[in-house]
Amino acid sequence: MDVELSEILDTLCEYAPFSDLKDEPILQDMVKDIEIQYVRAGEWVIAPEARNDTLFFIRSGAIENKSKSGKLLRRMHEGDIFGSSSLLRGGRSSQTMRALEDSLLYRIPARWFIQFYSEFDAFSDFFELSREVRLKTAMDNQSSDLSLMTCPVHSLLRRPPITASHTVDIKTAANIMANERVSSLLITEDDALVGILTDRDLRNRVVAQGLPLDVRVDMIMTQNPITIDAGDFAAEAVLKMMATNIHHLPVIKNDRPVGVISTGDLVQRESHGSVYVISDIYKQEDVEGLVAISKKMSHIFTQLVNADANTQMIGNAMSHIGVAFVKRLIQLAERQLGPAPIPYCFLALGSQAREEQIISTDQDNALILHDRYDPALHGDYFRELSDFVCDNLDRCGYPLCTGDIMAKNPKWRLSLSDWKRTFGEWIEKPKAEALLHVSIFFDLRGIYGDKTLARQLNSHIRQLAKANKGFLSALARNANQRTPPLGFFRQFVLDGEGKQSRTFNLKSRGIAPIADLVRVHALALGSNKLNTFERLEDIEEAGVMPDGRARDLILALEMIGMVRIKNQKTQVEAGEEPNNKVDPETLSEFEKRHLRDAFNIVSRQQEFLKYRYPGKG
């Protein structure tokens, strides 16, 4: 007798985790053990306090999952699976399941679940109880190590570094380079890197200058060269080399040089238009040239996404490019207006300061002026400079800020003392409402001019903020105003109150809540980092959040960011203006599943924020 239940098996195998097991013959035995049950809308499937001994597969209909206390947790539909968490707890159920629609359920006896759980990794990974572990496993499986964008610097190293002591003379150094056939030599003192000597140095600094060959090498080497950490992304090395126009980059691990990467290594590996664009920007002699480059930005963005760059890398690259536009525009402005009459510093605010820019970000910027600033004498110069920079940024695809937070606005062109006073008021007399509009100022980076001005302001902010509980609690309250959705249901996005909508904004419901809550911790900590990922590392080190929670947020941010970037890439490719709106129908099951985990992590950290920075409100 041949039992013909292939239709049921086929249906199961369309959905994870059974899709991963579809070639396992044992699945056919499991199908024979299934019991089918029809439940009407409103009926309990797992009633409060009931025990559960089956894994449920929703063949049709919908099931609503609530906590013991009646809080909505999930809505599930065709192809979803539930009951696993009570099975893992020996049948004890802490949640309820109730039919939202008339539903047909396939009930799989617990013993199959237990058996598959112990036998198949793909199966147990799927049912991993901790959403953090689940998210991590998913992200690990996603990243490829082939791409230049995501591979670490040390994977590019082909040989140990060729080094020489700082006391050797030029001739000895040149001999080592000739014998080892290298174009650069790392100079060390007690094993620590103190300089670098390149072919070009020998030509420009020795031969061309007619220097005797017995001069010590530390007289002609480049001292304290720019380096990169072995664990950094290779793409960061590219950015560093492009931004500083160097061709050899020593790689450091635990304070010791472990190798050198050259532009040749990188070009050989993969050539990236996206990073060469920075040197292109600096070559432009007029605004028209910059505008022309800006037209290529969407192409560069899609190229980065296609290269499997992670969100951190894309944010980094897009911000560096954005900063390059600003810098070049200021240079062109100074060429027109003459050098600045007093020192000043041009500030990037918000996502550009955090190096988390993506495509089509509004400009947010400001100006710090030296305390010698006299509006009567210098006002016109800085007004013209700011107008030139902001208006032309707008032409280059960085639209004017709708909230008018720009250097163009005289309100945000202040002397250092006035800035300190302004921040002093925000911090010492915090009003949540007012703070909401200025939180963007707390992510502030000097990008051009006298950066010590920005540093002084930042350290002033840090000292004040750290000590001010009222300010931190007001900021925490603001950070909790925008909440992530609960999850998805069919083509809808689902809110905690059960509201369903057709689209949602990934920035305001995902990225921004994370950046906001991380900023509160970072300010409380006095961290000098601006980037959310880097802030989270500081937060983790300081132990502000319970163990591992900072890492969870990193994963959540990466997950949400990845979906946002992919969504924008699709929009760009379709010739649309990229935005942050996402239609759940365009998301894969994988994305929905892990976005839900990510949202959940964010929600819980918002709860923690309330507890950590309590206050009236």
Binding site: V3, E4, E7, D33, Y38, E101, D102, R107
Partner: protein, 232 residues
């Protein structure tokens, strides 16, 4: 009792058949009785059954496959599912092949119905049989038993099609246009049950069991008086 003359009292008819039959299999079947008749529907042992045939006329056509599955109002137990292919004496017609998709090559090596009819009877003995369209299942099984045992095989059936006809019935003055379709798939859609590939005897039996669960869940069925359910 005959196809045209169904008994008023099934319990009594079963007893008489059990006493008079010459066949061991039929004796076992009738001795098992119709247990479900005197217990509430929640506790009644049910079995859904479906057959595929070479055509619609039970006098001329034959059964090519039988599928059945035991169930209750709470669960359809696939563990109990059984499925048989039968090699008919006459050739398969092109029309029937297009319906059930069972081809000549598949039944070439299949056994004759007579070799497993005992098994089918054992599987449904003591249970309430649920079918969709008793007008097919009943005469074909009757003829098969006549051919094999030389004796009639009759038992009460719940017909989900007849139930659905009652549920959807509206007198002509309330009706607008055509009567709703009573095909298995059409009935299932009214209860938001998933679409299955039709005309595979076992999946149709499972489909029929699901439909009956849905009809009961929607309280279209009087659970207290089972005799009302039967299609006589």
């Amino acid at each position: 009792m005959t196809l045209d003359n169904l008994p008023e009292n099934w319990q009594q008819a079963y007893q008489e058949m059990a006493n008079s039959t010459q066949s061991d299999a039929l004796k076992r079947f009738y001795q098992a009785g119709v247990k479900g008749l005197d217990c509430p529907l929640e506790e009644a042992p049910l079995v859904a059954l479906d057959i595929e045939t070479t055509g619609l006329d039970s006098d001329e056509n034959e059964i090519v496959s039988i599928g059945l599955v035991s169930f209750s109002l709470q669960a359809i137990k696939l563990r109990s599912a059984q499925y048989w292919l039968a090699k008919p004496h006459s050739a398969l017609t092109a029309e029937s092949v297009t319906i059930h998709e069972i081809t000549h090559s598949e039944i070439q090596d299949a056994p004759r119905l007579s070799s497993f009819l005992d098994e089918v009877l054992d599987a449904i003995a003591g249970k309430i049989v649920v079918v969709h369209c008793a007008a097919i299942e009943r005469p074909f099984l009757y003829r098969a038993a006549m051919k094999h045992y030389g004796e009639p095989l009759l038992f009460p059936m719940i017909d989900t099609m007849a139930l659905e006809a009652n549920i959807t019935f509206k007198p002509w003055w309330k009706r607008f246009g055509r009567q709703p379709s009573l095909r298995l798939d059409a009935c299932r859609q009214r209860y938001h049950l998933p679409r299955y590939r039709a005309h595979q005897a076992l999946m149709d039996a499972v489909s029929c069991a699901e439909l009956f669960q849905a009809q009961v869940a929607h309280q279209h069925v009087n659970k207290q008086d089972l005799t009302k359910l039967y299609c006589y």
